[in-house]
Amino acid sequence: MSACAHAVSHSFASTSADETRALARSLAPLLIADDVVLLAGDLGAGKTQFVKGLAEGLGVTAPVTSPTFNILLTYEGGRLPLFHFDLYRLESPDELIDIDYFGTLESGGASVVEWGDRFAEAVLPDEDRPDEIAPASRNPFAKAAPSGGILVEMGITGDHQRSINVFSIGSRGEALASNWARAWERVASGSDAKTPGGCDCPSAARIDAQ
């Protein structure tokens, strides 16, 4: 519902699974109850690695494994409950209701959702309608993040290299994304071993919730 208009998304580059985990660890302290982090990217892009880092950062000690089979795994014992979803096996957005996805998102923990772009709606111009400008007020990720959050899109750019693009969804997403970029800069500048692949210039993509 925000009317803010400037782009705040960020791009990172990761050169290893360790770096991907460190990047996620730096996001953890910024999360508050009912925050939603959607993860997108091909098989092997490092989504589960990202969640491992997030869990470490929250203080979860239990081992984080893939939730593909059980759809949802819950980790208590950290600063916040962590709800780890995987929408890979879902075939229709109806099934989100069946698994009580929305009730879980709003139950006081932080949610991280693998394949969170699964039910994204074609709001951005698509191949069939290249000339049509999507209304900026629509949230293509309304299905998976109805109250906003961030989308972390991971791409495979080399055997160990990954591109990581962050999109904000709604006003909460904007705040989270920009705070995270600052937090990562601090982490990266304070450590030689973990040089970020360079904070590329912010690309222009911001999506309003609602």
């Binding site: 098989l43 092997g44 494994t65 593909t68 980790y75 096996r89 075939e91 069946d98 009730g103």
Partner: protein, 866 residues
């Protein structure tokens, strides 16, 4: 308190909101009948005495708190569960997990007690609570009614208005209830106090809607609205802005139902016939949305998608009456659509016929037979001795029926018919099977029937069921003089340790004579060794009855394929709600197949508690806890992985501890040491992906579809496993942990490089090399575990245990160590309740039982399953 007084105990509860509500009341059924009121309405003078009304905050704790609190309330009042004569449960709309927990627990309780189960609307109960509070507010409540202006609302809910300041509700007043539907939506409902001030009627259906649209609709009504409901926690501001001085917000403590309001809502629903048939199988949560697949099904069936169907919904469509004029036309006119009642593909249930069924039975009778029976003929049958009449029912009511009369040695089928639109689904066959068991119960040795010579379909059915023609009756049928073929066959299996659990007419007759009904929950004097096991951890609802962990009496899997196939191939992968629909029928069938057992013949109930799909697990566990409370039977919680290990124990008598098991499936990869029965130590498990998942995902990357693990394995059989040297992750880690995500990434990189260089990918070689990398690590770690623990037996368990290369490699590596290697039969690699029953036997022997506060868990290693 005398037994007669106790026999009318009504239990009502609701878990649809973050508040847990429980009511215990004493119902005077006779008074109820006499004071029948107009549909959808309620008069303030109640026919029931409220014994206890509870309302406690329990966010995300419904499963842990519901049944212990019910047990506690009963104990406080000096009641046994067996004193409960009716159960009513809140059906929502509300939290999906919450409603599912409440409905499943209620089904287990009602089925275990053999009492009727009814459904009530959660929002209806909230409205009744608000109305009761307003009606009972002291006269001084003429103190200023607090109109909720935007400014006043800012303080809600932090400073809730005391109940005493509620304005008195005059005739015609409107109550609005707003349930939180999450993701920026609400469940709205409006209610109106009747002109005579003596009843409250819901004037809108249940639906899910945009809160801003609802706020506009309510404003257009132009009347003062007293509002409640947990949706106000988020949207009070919007409603105050839209309605201005017309809105009054009830105190926060009235936003959820309490026990007394649930009992009142139940009384109403029963009075106007919207509480349902009382059959636990048919009570389902309120679904305010149809899934795409169900929309398609409804469209195919020819009904408009928004037409209410016969699925019993609580007072869902109380139509506006003269006393409740529709909102005055204004601009824009408010939309108050009727609810899109969910056309659920209901479970078919079977129960004894009651006089109430006769109308529906006659409709089928008249369509099926050219010489139909009359109502009085059916009534004569129902009251005659040595008869048994059954009906098949689903959400639409009676869909088939059959009856048998037992002569001294021979039972005679009196009639059998299935509604025309439901033929060919096996309902006739199921009715016949039940008649044969009934015939055996009535003491008959054989079964006969007559069928028209020209009715080839029926004759084929009977022949397929083992009946054969033994003679003819010339000109038997009066209408056209057609001959009858006489057919004879055996009765059902004679092992009937108990009587058929009548839940209908005959039961009620019996209850009048023996109101205490303690016979149903009496424990047998000696242990029977029988355990009923329930498994609902993933896509299948399953139940099995087993004696002493070895002898299988019944094994039922509610193949969800049945209901899915009706959706023309649109098969949702995940269907937790199907468990709620199937569970009563599956348990009924398992007990029936085991010899028409009553629950009192069991030693214990077992249920899969972890790990799995959480929305599915809670259904089985809540149901099992309800059944445990009702029957007094101990409850044993089983880890699904433990079940897979016991699939080997069942199939192979040489499998005994000390053993090491490798459990590999779509969701698990674990090496487990079992030094003695029931003691588990997880030696190591996967750090990321499970083995089955890695196979499926690599298959997907290779374009073999999903889940394509088995296809990948077949492809591997024709390839060279040494063609590509994929990494053997964790092979030298010195522990028993597995990691498969690195291997998955290596396969993806291999494909990427091949694409970049234009090299052709040899799919069989790639598949074989990948498989070899997985198997090498698993075999090496399994062999080392066997050596280090000194186990005498090694078990391969789980869905991936069907992989032939894995079986072969494990045998080759471990058998030379002098250790027995056990692999499960293919049919026990998939999920079933038989393995849960087998595992439960040993846990029960060790006295490891759950209490009623046990919760389900999606994660959960074997070691911690206690």
């Amino acid at each position: 308190m005398s037994e007669a007084e106790r026999s009318g105990l009504v239990l009502a509860f609701d878990t649809a909101t973050e508040v847990l509500a429980i009511g215990l009341g004493e119902c005077r059924a006779a008074a109820n009948q006499a004071g029948r009121r107009s549909p959808g309405s309620r008069s303030p003078g109640s026919d029931q005495r409220i014994l206890r009304s509870l309302c406690v905050e329990a966010p995300r704790r419904a499963n842990a708190e519901l049944l212990p609190r019910i047990a506690m309330l009963l104990a406080e009042l000096g009641f046994e569960p067996a004193h409960i004569s009716e159960v009513a449960v809140g059906l929502g709309p509300g939290s999906f997990t919450g409603v599912r927990i409440g409905v499943a627990a209620a089904k287990g309780l009602a089925q275990g007690l053999g009492v009727p189960l009814y459904g009530v609307g959660t929002l209806d109960a909230v409205a009744l609570r608000v109305w009761a509070a307003a009606a009972t507010a002291p006269a001084s409540a003429s103190a200023p009614a607090v109109a909720a202006t935007a400014a006043a609302v800012a303080a809600v809910p932090a400073t809730a208005m005391p109940a005493a300041t509620l304005p008195p509700l005059a005739s015609g007043s409107v109550i609005g209830v707003l349930g939180d539907a999450m993701r920026h939506e609400v469940y709205p409902a409006l209610f109106r106090v009747a002109e005579d001030g003596r009843s409250l009627t819901r004037i809108t259906g249940y639906r899910v809607a945009d809160p801003l649209a609802v706020a506009r609709e309510w404003a257009v009504l132009g009347e003062p609205i007293l509002a409640a409901g947990n949706g106000l926690a988020k949207y009070a501001q919007e409603f105050a802005e839209s309605l201005g001085g017309l809105l009054t917000i009830a105190p926060h403590e009235l936003w959820a139902p309490d026990g007394a309001a649930l009992l009142a809502a139940f009384e109403d629903a029963r009075a106007d016939g919207t509480a349902g048939l009382g059959d636990p199988a048919l009570v389902l949560p309120v679904y305010t949305r149809l899934s795409d697949a169900e929309e398609a099904e409804v469209a195919r069936a020819g009904a408009p998608p928004d037409a209410p169907t016969a699925v019993p919904l609580p007072a869902a469509t109380a139509a506006p009456t003269a006393a409740t004029p529709p909102p005055a036309a204004a601009s824009p006119p408010p939309a108050m659509p009727s609810p899109p009642a969910a056309a659920s593909p209901s479970q078919v249930g079977y129960r004894p016929m009651t006089p109430d069924d006769i109308e529906a039975v006659l409709a089928i009778e008249q369509a099926a037979f050219s010489d139909p029976w009359t109502a009085s003929m059916f009534i004569d049958e129902l009251t005659a001795p040595v008869r048994s009449w059954l009906v098949a029912v689903d959400g639409s009511g009676v869909i088939g029926y059959a009856g048998v009369a037992a002569m001294p040695d021979e039972a005679h089928v009196m009639s059998l018919a299935v509604r025309a639109d439901r033929r060919g689904e096996g309902i006739g066959r199921a009715l016949l099977a039940r008649l044969r068991t009934e015939a055996a119960r009535l003491g008959a040795k054989s079964l006969t029937l007559e069928v028209r010579e020209g009715n080839a379909a029926a004759i084929a059915l009977y022949e397929a069921e083992g009946l054969s023609a033994v003679g003819m009756r010339k000109g038997y049928y009066a209408d056209n003089g057609e001959d009858a073929v006489i057919m004879r066959g055996p009765v059902g299996h004679a092992e009937h340790t108990g009587h058929f659990e009548h839940t209908g007419y005959t039961k009620h007759v019996k209850d009048a004579e023996h109101p205490a009904r303690t016979a149903h929950v009496e424990r047998p004097a000696h242990a029977t060794g029988l355990i009923l096991a329930i498994e609902s951890s993933c896509d299948e609802t399953a139940a099995a009855v087993m004696r002493d962990g070895r002898e299988l009496l019944s094994n039922v899997i509610a193949s969800q394929v049945d209901s899915h196939s009706r959706f023309g191939g649109v098969v949702p992968e995940i269907a937790s709600r199907k468990h709620t629909e199937a569970i009563v029928g599956v348990i009924q069938e398992a007990m029936y197949e085991a010899g028409a057992l009553p629950f009192s013949a069991l030693d214990a109930i077992a249920v899969t508690q972890k790990p799995g799909l959480i929305g599915a697990l809670v259904v089985g566990l809540s149901y099992a806890k309800g059944l445990s409370l009702a029957t007094g039977l101990p409850l044993v919680g089983i880890n699904h992985l433990e079940g897979h290990i016991f699939a080997n124990v069942l199939a192979d008598p040489r499998v005994t501890p000390p053993l090491v098991a490798l459990v590999v499936s779509g969701g698990h990869t674990s090496l487990v040491h079992m030094p003695e029965w029931g003691i588990y130590k997880t030696l190591g498990e996967t750090l990321d992906d499970a083995a089955g998942e890695a196979f499926d995902k690599v298959a997907k990357v290779l374009g073999l579809g999903y889940p394509g693990g088995p296809v990948l394995s077949r492809l591997a059989a024709t390839g060279d496993p040494t063609a590509i040297d994929f990494p053997r992750a964790m092979l030298k880690s010195g522990d028993y942990a597995f990691s498969l995500s690195g291997l998955k990434t290596a396969v993806i990189n291999h494909i990427r490089h091949a694409h970049a260089s234009g090299a052709e990918i040899n799919l069989p070689d790639l598949a074989a090399s990948f498989q070899a990398a997985v198997i090498d690590v698993q075999v090496a770690k399994a062999a080392r575990a066997v050596e280090e623990t000194g186990a005498a037996t090694f078990c391969l368990a789980g869905g991936v245990a069907a992989n032939p290369e894995l079986r072969k490699a494990l045998r080759a590596a471990i058998e030379p160590l002098g250790v027995h290697v056990s692999v499960p039969p293919f049919e026990l690699c998939t999920d079933n309740a038989v393995m849960i029953a087998a595992a439960a036997h040993y846990r029960y022997q060790r006295g490891e039982v759950l209490d009623l506060s046990a919760e389900a868990s999606a994660n959960g290693s074997l070691d911690t399953a206690r």
